[in-house]
Symmetry: C2
Subunit: 449 residues, 2 copies
């Protein structure tokens, strides 16, 4: 029987970074990764296959990242695990003995129970290259496309698909696109950009039926609107893939994901879980939160990989701060931590700060974009709890910088005191930095109260 030190189930970024980090920390460990896919997709790159890359394979993570580190890659399914005996059984019948097992089994698309959802040319968004290749072929010929679901994936799909000249509509149940991640004013900026790109937006609307014979021909909304469609993208979220975890008796948390501690250890001492299949807890409330992001998955993987064989207490995940970024027809948007809508929901005593600047200086330089920033601070102590940004392409790193401030438990004063670097072509002016100005405004706002 094959014997390894670490057996990692899954092939995505969580699996890869657990394996690579384990190799960095434990030079001589025997590490194996088991996954069925012919190749692995960069998950956040999926929408960009359809309007920019025009190829599924261009969005792959090369297997060499594992192979060149001496990690064994096995293309198969893990069908069962004997936790007591530390033995995994593959679909091929092969058995592998392990010391530590890591589940990085990811997520599965949530398919809503809409009548007609099983017709041809209706595609849930999966990470499977075969499915994506089929989807790409259909998208190339599609004249009328309806995207159901207005979160990140739905918005990015709509923004990309419209570039091919298709007639694209997006339908969202909530009053705004991106509503779970941003406050209204930022959602509205994204909606504006998507409209400018030619996408038809139907918010506050439910899909009641998908029509057609064998293939989809139209999508019917709850107000009677019928949208012609020869392709439908189901961007209706995902749920943790815990099939194997359940089968082998690991504890599942209240959110439906695998329960893990700060080191990503499951209810069994020799089994870890990382990424979309592992439960996350809110950085602030410690409640379970359904955040599924490759960037969180890799952060967890770096912690799990370091702690796999010996506890490095300095490496822990102390609650998940969701940090998101997206790009809609030339507008970059980012959010980190708490948004105002959620602050209200959980009855948080908060103060807002906002700022507006330009991402180059002087603002008349070519390709300069306006940058809007909003921070949410606690009223007591004025800790930075959340930040949102809309601007040019540097907004994706500015939101990371504000995410750092949240994770470092910085106050608005501490943030306002920070020294920064600036450059005419790369950043806003030193007089109105995007990273500090909203915090300065929050300080003023609390003094007014």
């Amino acid at each position: 029987m094959k014997e390894v030190d670490a057996l990692i189930v899954g092939g995505g970024p969580a699996a890869i970074i657990t394996a690579v980090t384990a190799r960095q920390n434990y030079k001589d460990a025997k590490i194996a990764v088991v996954r069925p896919e012919k190749y692995v997709i960069i998950p956040c790159g999926i929408p960009y296959i359809f309007g920019t890359l025009h190829s599924v394979e261009k969005d792959k993570i090369p297997d060499e990242v594992l192979i060149k580190k001496g990690i064994d890659l096995i293309k198969d399914y893990v069908d069962d695990v004997d936790l007591e005996g530390h033995v995994a059984t593959l679909r091929s019948g092969e058995k592998i003995k392990y010391k530590k097992l890591v589940l990085a089994t990811g997520s599965k698309p949530s398919v809503p129970p809409i009548p007609g959802v099983d017709k041809k040319n209706i595609f849930p968004v999966t990470k499977n290259p075969d499915n994506l290749e089929a989807m790409l072929e259909v998208s190339k010929k599609a004249k009328d496309i309806v995207v159901i679901g207005g979160g990140f994936i739905g918005v990015e799909f709509a923004d990309e698909l419209v570039k091919n000249g298709s007639n694209v509509s997006i339908v969202e149940l909530l009053p705004h696109l991106l509503q779970l991640s941003f406050d209204d004013e930022f959602c509205e900026m994204a909606e504006e950009r998507l409209k400018d790109a030619g996408v038809k937006i139907f918010t506050g609307r439910k899909v009641v039926e998908i029509q057609g014979d064998d293939s989809v021909s139209a999508v019917k909304l709850d107000d009677g609107t019928v949208l012609k469609a020869d392709m439908v993208v189901l961007a209706t979220g995902a749920k943790p893939n815990v099939d194997l975890a359940k089968k082998i008796g690991l504890k599942i948390g209240v959110s439906g994901a695998i329960e893990v501690d700060e080191y990503l250890k499951t209810s069994h001492p020799d089994v870890f879980a990382v990424g979309d299949c592992a439960e996350k807890r809110c950085f602030f409330t410690r409640d379970p939160r359904p955040v599924m992001l490759a960037s969180i998955a890799t952060a967890e993987a770096r912690v799990a990989g370091a702690n796999l064989f010996e506890l490095k207490v300095v490496r822990q995940i102390k609650g998940t701060v969701g940090i998101f970024a997206t790009y809609v027809n030339g507008l970059a948007l980012g959010a980190a931590g708490m948004i105002e809508r959620r602050a209200k929901e959980i009855n948080l005593d908060y103060v807002i700060g906002t700022s507006q600047t330009v991402d180059k200086h002087p603002g008349c330089l070519p390709n300069a974009s306006k940058v809007f920033t909003k921070v949410i601070t606690s009223k007591q102590g004025q800790y930075i709890l959340g930040a949102q940004i809309a601007g040019g392409t540097t907004a994706g790193e500015i939101i990371n910088l504000l995410g750092f401030a949240i994770q470092n438990n910085m106050t608005a004063c501490e943030l306002a005191n920070l020294q920064i670097g600036t450059h005419p072509l790369l950043t806003p002016a030193p007089t109105v930095p995007a990273s500090l100005s909203a915090a300065l405004n929050a300080i003023q706002n609390i003094e007014k109260e």
Copy 2:
């Protein structure tokens, strides 16, 4: 006699942000700014006047930023101050009584004692709009331009001037361009880009003579090379403008700048100094350091403005972390804190970490740039002491994020643990983030030792 609460001497970013911050913190204070210039220039934008903006006025900071906040703007010189009587005398003869005085008198170009340096069409880089307008006119017709000095300003001038089709050379005394701010490998990347742009580089060379009759005609180097020149830019650094401070008896520090404490107070309790004229102390060694950056000036101004009439101990400058960014022919470069060359000079026990990634993912996306990052950590405790980056336009904000880590006294482990957000079009892949990967490498490197 006119009476004000705060009198600010100077017109640049340090003066403006002191005034604006004072207004935010002290709503009813009477604030006046005195400066002679017809308008104020964005200092870091100066090189971009010459190859991108083609206009001096486009690089101005509008006076409205003061006026709309109810700040009195007086276009004059402050010739003398009676510190005991709290009275300033302007060149017009007007006297102004103040409660607090702020010196934001900036810097003056250092003109090297080269024979012939007084000839026509030789321009030190000043912030005076009249001088810049004269310089712009000459640059439009110049065929052969020599830039003396290979720091940020020199490199940016060369990169801009060559865009107009002029034959541009740059001469630097040290072995590399940008050598005071970057380690060799980053300097070499900048040199490569500048060469690609068509600039001729002469490093390790001293200018011994500037030739010509009335006007400059050539520049002679110490190896006998003679460079034809109908225009010379003197980018040979600057020194604090402390003329007024000396005249009125304020204490001058060993570096030649006005001595200040953590609140930017001078040796007189009612006088503050901010920006290039105020002494800076190294964040690490606390030694005086000649850093002149608008971003540091504004950070100081935000602290001085908040503390002007009442001490807010939460707002201090606890040492200056120089954070720089520049852009050379498509390559953005940034540095924060310690570089390796200086770490060696001061006999620091350090560990290096490096990483290489791409600023989009997958890396085949249009306009993706490679990103190189280097961090310097202390060996004991592995605190992040310095960072350097070269990459695409987001590098300017990534270096700010690493500058945050330095100012928050973060260790490599803490940095490696941080959660980030990623997006295909905005950031590197979550598997190889520019902000964390060099820290992870530093952790590995110390374990190897």
